[in-house]
């Protein structure tokens, strides 16, 4: 005990053993999975939790007095409580389970959006994922509202110089990525939230990329909504989350109608349950909630701070390594300050499809294309990018494999 505590280090080699797929080969090479920003891999604990649920406790929830139904309901509501704790929500009732981030954002656009009127404004940014663009375009079309957006600087930062003009008395909703899925940029939410609340607008943060990596605390963020998605945070596909501030959720009309979201139904008139139930029509993703709960347990046991430190180190390593690749153009911040482990780049004259294909032949899995964020590609004057995205299980060796692969790409297409 010397008074300084050595920062605990993530035991990556040990964590990797928890992910069955990582021992797989691809095209005769060990799998190098650098596409976690697209979807993450799943630890055994998550896969097993769902198997166990189906083999021992499967039943529908909130509808049965029987034993299996009680077990399933406790598992489902238990998962809600775990997710609430993971993001620092004051109550599990602020956690609505959806099918993915996209549905979570659409829920807000339809339900909260129903109060907008002709001439109202919605503000997004140029670096949004299509899932945080199209719902607002559809809303504005329905209502006659206007969509406006923050510009992005050459360095990949939101241009906040226009904040006070963009977010004004006509603004009703501001919806911004907490972390960009293309640039890795972690956006400064404080100023935006402050200004939005000043003018009476609500703020939705798209946490699809931040919640899996950053240890997000909704109380500290002070936004009104947070959307995120299980499959990017070690959980299963088929489930996402809308967190909403209680008062705001309570003020919102239903979105999907059906079983379980009602108080009482007659053919003439129906009244609705309180949130979160009001927004969970039909049989919810029960086993998927169990899997997401297990994912949250896994991440918490590992420690989000340790995870974030590992990823920051690895991102720094990757930024330096990619800078050695001749001609490579990186999009997004050049340092690890306020950026996560998402590395999008261009090799001039070589199409990302071809980059990705050669890398794949070496077992290296990266994403290529517009990453469901075409406006930011247009912003940088490219049709597509190659993107490597990191997670807790990635290593410097894997970054080296990427860089070696890029040398091979240049040999084939140089």
């Amino acid at each position: 005990m010397t008074g300084t505590v050595a920062a605990p280090v993530l035991d990556v080699a040990r964590a990797r053993k928890d992910f069955p797929i990582l021992s797989r080969e691809v095209n005769g090479h060990p799998l190098v999975y650098l596409d976690s920003g697209n979807t993450s891999q799943k630890p055994r604990a998550v896969i097993e939790a769902m198997r166990q649920h189906y083999e021992r406790h499967n039943a529908n929830v909130a509808r049965s007095v029987h034993q299996l139904g009680t077990e399933a309901t406790e598992a489902y509501e238990g998962a809600r409580a775990k997710v609430a704790a993971f993001i620092g929500a004051t109550s599990p009732d602020e956690v609505v389970f959806t099918k993915n981030s996209t549905e979570a954002i659409n829920l807000v656009a339809y339900s909260y959006g129903a109060r907008l009127r002709l001439g109202d404004e919605v503000v997004i940014s140029e670096m949004e994922h299509h899932s945080n663009i199209v719902p607002w375009q559809l809303l504005c079309d329905r209502i006659g509202a206007t969509l406006r957006w923050f510009r992005v600087s050459d360095e990949g930062r939101l241009d906040l110089s226009t904040l006070d003009r963009l977010v004004n008395e006509r603004t009703r909703i501001v919806s911004i990525a907490h972390m960009s899925n293309v640039l890795g940029t972690i956006n400064p939410t404080e100023a935006i939230v402050k200004r939005a609340h000043e003018v009476g607008a609500v703020v939705l943060l798209d946490g699809s990329q931040s919640v899996p990596h950053l240890g997000v605390d909704v109380t500290a963020l002070d936004a009104d909504f947070l959307a995120f998605t299980s499959h990017k945070m070690l959980g299963p596909t088929g489930i996402g989350v809308l967190w909403g501030r209680s008062e705001v959720l309570e003020s919102m009309p239903p979105f999907l109608g059906g079983g379980s979201m009602i108080e009482t139904v007659s053919l003439e008139k129906t009244t609705f349950a309180k949130p979160p139930t009001r927004f969970e029509a039909g049989t919810p993703p029960i086993a998927q909630a169990v899997g997401l709960g297990a994912a949250v347990d896994y991440l918490s046991a590992l420690g989000m701070a340790k995870l974030a430190r590992h990823e920051a180190q690895l991102t720094g390593y990757a930024l330096e390594a990619l800078a050695t690749v001749p001609g490579l153009r990186l999009f997004g911040p050049a340092t690890t300050r306020d950026r996560g482990g998402i590395l999008s780049f261009d090799l001039p004259g070589i199409h990302p499809h071809d980059v990705g294909q050669v890398l794949d032949s070496l077992g290296v899995q990266v994403r290529v294309g517009h990453h469901c964020a075409r406006p930011i590609c247009v912003r940088y004057g490219v049709a597509a990018m190659t993107r490597a995205s990191l997670y807790l299980y990635n290593t410097t060796d894997e970054v080296d494999a990427l860089v070696a692969g890029l040398a091979q790409v240049r040999k084939v297409f140089g």
Partner: protein, 148 residues
């Protein structure tokens, strides 16, 4: 079997409910619904100063919710509003305690028979239904008083 749940006391109250039926006069009433099963209860209260002069109720529901209403009647009628709300809180604490809250027989009397129900999460709402409606009705009665 279901002995922990269906204590003799509960079945007795269910088969021979105390104070059942809606009565006049009343200052306020509340109608509550259990959305998962459609059960309904209406509870009326008549306060007189600090006293609960009468509680009357009517509803469709299972043995647990019917017996809970009957026990409610015994526990709150004729006492003070304060005592009634203390008993409400004790009953609620016991029901939501997942069977881990030791109930005080001095406070809850026959109500302690519901301790076993707390182990059946699907039935907790049934037991609470009349108690929640009662509390709501008291709140409304007080509102009416203070806004003459």
């Amino acid at each position: 079997m279901t002995d922990a749940l269906y204590q003799e006391i509960i079945l007795d109250h269910y088969k021979h409910p105390h104070g059942r039926g809606l009565r006049e006069p009343y200052q306020a009433q509340a109608h509550h619904v259990n959305p998962t099963c459609g059960d309904e209860v209406t509870v009326r209260v008549q306060l007189s100063g600090e006293q609960v002069e009468d509680v009357s109720y009517e509803g469709m529901g299972c043995s647990i919710s019917q017996a809970a209403a009957s026990v409610l009647y015994d526990l709150v009628r004729g006492g003070t509003v304060e005592a009634a709300l203390t008993r409400h809180d004790a009953f609620q604490a016991m029901m939501t305690g997942r069977g881990e809250v030791e109930p005080d027989e001095n406070v809850l009397e026959d109500g302690v028979a519901f301790a076993g129900v707390a182990k059946y999460p699907a039935r907790v709402k049934c037991a609470l239904l009349p108690w929640m409606a009662f509390k709501d009705a008291v709140l409304r009665a007080n509102e009416t008083e203070t806004q003459p």
